[in-house]
């Protein structure tokens, strides 16, 4: 739906305003507060027929061990994840390469540190009966920064996802889910 623009003095109807709200780019879906000493957090009812594409942002909180990767799993699927992570190590400027090759999850799209949890990931078509693609932009750790992207090689329709640090437990922080408006 196109956004309606208004002129001075025009009456703003509820229908028109609601249409504009629904026409915005990112629509907030949910916020989940992570509990205490949690090894994994599952967000249910995250994906639906309302949106094709989603953004997940995790911030705040802490991990019991510093500087570990934060993995993302869709539904109950534990196979078929493919991704590459290309980065540079700060201290040596050396290339840093990693891959998920038919892995049990997307292993490294986020970072879990003692001073916070960090994830900013776009998921393309997790609810649709198509492959799910992701692009997490960059993951930043104490030692390196990486760019990453990948896909889940099946056509399963997902409604939920789970976040798991590679080591330790999480306390606090918020998992926010947004939908990209279909328009």
């Amino acid at each position: 739906m196109a956004i309606t623009t208004y002129t001075a003095g025009e009456i703003l109807t509820a229908a028109s305003l609601n249409n504009n709200f629904a026409s915005g780019g990112l629509q907030f879906i949910s916020a989940t507060t992570i509990g205490t000493t949690v090894a994994s957090v599952t967000v249910s009812a995250a994906f639906s027929t309302t949106y094709d594409n989603y953004k997940i942002v995790v911030s705040g909180g802490t991990n019991s061990t510093d500087n570990v990767v934060l993995a993302l799993q869709l539904g109950a699927t534990v196979t078929g994840y493919y991704a590459t992570y290309t980065g540079v190590t700060y201290s040596t400027a050396a290339a840093l390469l990693a891959a998920d090759n038919n892995a049990a999850n997307f292993a490294r799209p986020g970072n879990a540190k003692t001073n916070g949890l960090f994830l900013n990931i776009d998921l393309i078509s997790p609810f649709l009966a198509k492959n799910t693609f992701f692009n997490a932009g960059a993951t930043v750790s104490n030692t390196s920064t990486r760019l990453c992207a990948g896909y889940l090689d099946n056509t399963t329709s997902y409604t939920a996802f789970t976040l798991t640090p590679a080591f330790g437990t999480m306390t606090g922080g918020t998992v926010r889910v947004y939908g990209y408006t279909n328009s």
Partner: protein
């Protein structure tokens, strides 16, 4: 980290699973998987 070290660091009652807003203690199978993940962990 050895299995015993992982159990000592994370006793069963100290580790939780969260689904939505529900936080609960892990089932034995979930706990075993968690401990094994700690044992297998290789820092990157």
């Amino acid at each position: 980290m050895t299995y015993a070290e992982a159990v000592a660091m994370y006793p069963p009652e100290s580790v939780h699973t969260q689904i939505g807003d529900l936080v609960r203690v892990m089932t034995p199978a979930e706990y075993e998987a968690f401990i094994q993940r700690q044992v297998d962990y290789v820092p990157e």
